[in-house]
Symmetry: C2
Subunit: 384 residues, 2 copies
């Protein structure tokens, strides 16, 4: 099977680690951040933009793609990579998060989740087996197990039941992949998802069983849903301590630079989030010194790039004044140029973190990055 | 002054011609099509996309840019080229068309046009002199004379008055450029605009005077505003016959492939229009065989590019099925990829027309292009 993970470096002072995942579509250096290509494109960006940003893996959404254009269409056109013109690796989620968060009517049974499409209200039924078959049909490199999400806060019993069902569904997903492999399909890697919300005991109980299953990697699920950074990072620390060293650890839905760096420090290898690109389309980007709101009037004649320290095509070619003008004028190019920067910014962060881990300088890198990031000096200087 | 025009080839069978304009920002091969960068960007496209399409000149709108971000801001940031990151040539219109067509309240006096901004209702006054100063402040390579547009049909007297005023304004614009040159500014070329609508006698009368003024080129104004292709082309033929050989001829607001080719056959050197890119953003593009409506269900699993004969990045990298999916899903990347194709398509058309003129094969090129363009075979094949 064309999936492997090699741990290359461990940081001395933290749990941070640098590794290398190999898939049929190349190598993924970890820590890795995965831009989100929800319905087959990372919004406003072409594959070339992602390559230029050094992206080696992106995330596709099973829920969205299976509703539109449908897995049969994607498969008929050669799979998701070919469909969207992306030659790097792809990780797909299982749809478990979206069926619970995006649909108005959904019903969880032991078999799976019945829901109505947010697009047209049509009725669908997603099961652990079907989630495997869809991801296989999309031609993903890394598939995710179908898990049950509970909205927090929830009674302990609800969390416990969801953990138990997630474990049963995890087994069914693995079995379905085996069945697919018997048919010469199912070559994708499969990651299990640890659940239990912010209940440390439940997460530990979940992983006690999940960790024994033959998954190729493990994800930290049910976090960054409103519990706050402190509690979230505590769960990350506990999960990573329990997860095996030799398999990648994927923290789902995290994309704020501070969270990304703190998660890396606790041993996380992979992350994804729409935050950088969604923020960018709304006119907010992260720069070395914090957050920059592009429409700010202070930038009306600011000839500097968004981030003078950034080497992305947007920062190499365009001023804050121009970007601001594009946003104020509702020009689509503004969203695109901001998204280019946003993807570069977060990928550059994990790339530099990786280099620091390899060089044994991660502690210094982390504290310098956080000091500067919180300085907010961008705006102060611009106003002068 | 850094502007020159050299006529290089004349077609034997038609009035088509191939030339070369030189500006401070390089060479513009004619016939040339100018994509429209209304408010400082050709919508959805970055300068690199235009370079890749072989674009050597684009159009900026004085009206839009002077309202937002304002000429002072653009000038403070080094001029329009630098502001938008475009190193090729720029032609700016005078704002005359927009103050009449985009504003709800406008009042023409001998001095100029008073109007309210379509953005915020603020009151402004544009004169022939101010139109020169704004274009000079933007740093354009080719400025346009400030003319008076009349909405057709109009009484003969109204057309006559507008022609007379356009001529007086043309003189005032030239004088203002001279004044600017006395101050070491005003290095831009300046084109006069012939008016008279579809009244051949009025157009001839207008040019009898306009043609004697020291303009660097002449534009055909007041056409393609609803008069129909036959009548429009008749005016083009008459104007071009009257215009001097040694200066470029610019037909304003024309971008349909058939119109472009027919105008070239009648001696036009330059054109501009939002049509290709506006259509593209709405999901319609021109291909070798005619018009292609991307959302058409027939393309849902069509693995071919928009135009199998096109070498643009969109056609090299993406299928009709993917483009259709992006449009159906309202993904911004769809508008961008379609715009990339649209600009390539029209620029490739004038480039090939130019090569045919140079090779003495323009007649054959024209008839072959039109035959294929009208064949509409794209859709028929896709449905099979």
């Amino acid at each position: 099977m064309p999936f492997s993970f090699h741990l290359e470096h461990r940081d001395g002072g933290t749990a941070a680690r640098a590794g290398r995942i190999t898939t049929a579509h190349g190598e993924v250096l970890t820590p890795a951040f995965m831009p989100v290509g929800t319905v087959g494109s990372v919004k406003t960006l072409a594959p070339d933009d992602l390559v230029e940003a050094g992206c080696d893996v992106l995330l596709g959404n099973t829920y969205h793609l299976s509703l539109r254009p449908g897995v049969e269409t994607v498969a008929a056109l050669g799979g998701l990579h070919r469909f969207m013109g992306w030659s790097g690796s792809i990780l797909t989620d299982s749809g478990g998060f979206q069926v619970m968060s995006l649909t108005e009517f959904n019903k969880v049974t032991e078999d799976g989740v019945e829901f109505r499409s947010h697009l047209d209200g049509s009725k669908h039924f997603l099961t652990p087996e079907k989630a495997m078959r869809i991801q296989d049909g999309l031609g993903t490199d890394i598939a995710m197990s179908f898990d049950q999400l509970v909205e927090l806060p929830a009674p302990a019993e609800t969390v416990r039941d969801a953990v138990d069902r997630t474990l049963r569904w995890a087994r069914r997903g693995l079995e379905e992949r085996e069945r697919l492999r018997g048919e010469g399909r199912g070559t994708m890697a499969l990651f299990g998802i640890n659940q239990g919300g912010t209940d440390a005991a439940e997460r530990a109980r979940c992983f006690a069983e999940l960790g024994g299953m033959p998954f190729d990697g493990f994800a930290l699920g049910g976090l960054w849903v409103g519990e706050g950074r402190r509690l979230g990072l505590e769960m990350v620390e506990r999960d990573c301590a329990a997860f095996p060293e030799d398999r990648p650890r994927y923290l789902m839905g995290v994309g704020h630079p501070v969270d990304v760096l703190e998660a890396v420090a606790r041993g996380v290898d992979m992350m994804d989030c729409v935050l950088p690109t969604r923020n960018a389309r709304r006119g907010t980007v992260f720069v070395s010194t914090g957050r920059l709101v592009i429409r700010n009037a202070a930038y009306a004649r600011d000839a500097r790039p968004l981030d003078p320290e950034c080497g992305c095509p947007t920062c190499r070619g365009f001023s804050r004044a121009y970007l601001r003008h594009l946003f104020v004028s509702n020009e689509l190019l503004g969203m695109r140029l901001a998204s280019v920067h946003a993807v570069h910014q977060i990928l550059s962060l994990v790339r530099r973190a990786r280099a620091a881990i390899a060089a044994g300088t991660f502690a210094a890198f982390r504290s310098e990055f956080l000091d500067r990031f919180h300085s907010n000096e961008t705006l102060v200087r611009a106003a002068s």
